[in-house]
Every structure is written in structure tokens, then in C-alpha cells.
Symmetry: C2
Subunit: 193 residues, 2 copies
Amino acid sequence: MNFLEERILRDGQVFGNDILKVDSFLNHQLDPSLLSQIGEAFHERFKDCGITKILTIEASGIAIACFAAMKFNVPVVFAKKARSNNLGTDVYQTMVHSFTYGRDYMVTVSRKYISPEDKILIVDDFMANGLAMEGLIDLCHQGGATVEGIGICIEKGFQAGGKLLREKGYRVESLAIVEEMGENGIRFREQAS
Amino acid sequence: MNFLEERILRDGQVFGNDILKVDSFLNHQLDPSLLSQIGEAFHERFKDCGITKILTIEASGIAIACFAAMKFNVPVVFAKKARSNNLGTDVYQTMVHSFTYGRDYMVTVSRKYISPEDKILIVDDFMANGLAMEGLIDLCHQGGATVEGIGICIEKGFQAGGKLLREKGYRVESLAIVEEMGENGIRFREQAS
């Protein structure tokens, strides 16, 4: 069991069979020591890919991306969910459906920050159905960039996102994959460490 | 002139007399070297205050807070703007008016992460009228915490926020204070470095 799986078991809270709250360390309050380890783990896995940029989506992905960026020493770009007056019209956009909020939302990134020379690592805190990741991949392709990989902190392995993305040929590295959870606790997928 | 003022002059874009775009390095694309310097600058100014926690507001404040947290080695808490299904009801909330978006929005933080023992440093990328900072101060006070200081990357010195907060007795440290801007460029307030 790795450092993140251990922390999830210690401080995560399970509600029903689907909701895992990790807001004490990952996406509301943030533990900088843990996030530094997460950044290091992504760097260890993708350091030979020539990553030029880390792409994520606001809001909780930003922290993950920042700690990863420190290890890779490359810029972060975070895609925006809200309509911003300041981004202008020279943007790439894609529509993403959120099951959590039960609605579609537009995701936007300035054209200036994704280019054909970029080899991009996409990161986020959670992946379930993978629709946000599909949106970020679409933004990369609109800009002609290469998606070198996807780094996820916690994947819900019982939802389809990870499987679909891997079948499409993307390299998805999830530090913790929850196979099932419920009253009896959390069971993680066995992974080579 | 300090490192941030130099970077603003080099890469910032001024529109009219009020809009300063710094999205190539501070709040859309993020330069990790610059943000590391920003974190170090805040640490240098507030290192003797016994800071226990860094509070910010999503989304662009999160990056600033993360890089500061690395230097202080304390947790970050970021207040949420969207209604999240996952935060529960045990929260502190306050209403903030956004001039940028022309509407009021609710800012929420879980009660678990602000306590009377906390000595809090509030950080953000921009301050203009200071209403978001007033909201974060309100959340701290609801939790009984002490606001040790406010660290801002870019203050619009021609708007009232900084003056009002300093008059109320808060220690506001802005790394760059824009006194005026327009066709003739940007003039910064002289500060002891």
C-alpha cells in the first residue's frame, strides 16, 4: 500500500458506496507534505516523457498541478470553468457534463498556452467517469499538442473513466484506484509500486 | 523594483486604466519559478507571526497559497465559491460581491478547518476593492481564528481595498501595488524592499 492509499484509509470518509471525502488533506484543506509526495510520484512516473506543460482544471486540480510543476519545473495551465471577462475570445472551449452538479459546463483555455510543440501531462485529484479528462484531452488536441499522460490522485475504478481512457491508448497513472467501498471500508486495486 | 514588478512590466498587459492581464504567469498559466519566489517573499514577511494555516479562495488563489504553504510548511484551506454537494452543512459562509462578474456569490469553508487556535495568513493573487478579503476575514472570525496578515501579489492601489483594510488594522503586504496604469504604462507605489 502506498502513501496515498494509507492516507485515504486513515483520513478519508466513505458515504454510501460512491462518495469518498478527502477534504481534510486533498481538496479543501491541503497537506503540503502529502501534495509534495504526490508531485514526486507523478514526476517519477512521467519524468522521461519530455513534459513541457501540466494541464488541469480549476479548482482542486490546481494544487495537484502546482506541486507536480515544482518537480517537473514546467508551467501549469489551468482550464477555467466560469466565464471570465478577462480571457478574451481567442480560446479553445469544450463542453463537459458534471454528474456531481447535474449540469453541463463550458471549459476554456487561452489558445496562447497550448501549442503543437507541447507534450502535456494532465493531472487532477479525482477521476470517476473521466468526462473532465476527456474535455482536457479535447483542449490539447484543439491546440495540436500531444497528451503524454494523465496523472490522477484517486481513481474510482468501479466507474468507467479509467478503462475507457486506457482503451483509447492514453497512459493513465492513478496513485490510488478504489475498486469498491462501503460499510466494510475501502478496497484498492493492486498495482505495481 | 522587485522581481514581481519587473515581471508585470515585462509580461503584463494593460487594457484601459483598470484591467491588468497577467494570465501568462500568475492566474491562467502559472510560472513555478515566479510562484516560488512569491511564496518565499510572503514567508520572509510573515515568518515570525506563528502562522498555522494559509487561507485563500478558489480558483487562482490556490496556486499562490500552495507555493506559500511550501515555505511555511502549514496546511492550505481554500474557500469554495460553488455550492458543493460534498462540503455538508457544517460550514461557515459569507456573501461576497464580485464587480468582475457583477453578482453576489456565497463563499464557504468547512468549520473543521478554522479554529480559535489558528493564526491565519490570507493570500490571493489580486486585490482591488478588497471585498473577497473582507469575506475571508469574516470566515476566520466566524471560526474564532486570528488573522495575522494578508499577502497579496498585485494590489490595485487606486482602488479602496488596501487602504480600508490597513485602516482597520490588518497587516496587508502587497508585493506590487499599482498606483496607476494606462497608455503610458504602469506606475508602482514605492515600497521599502
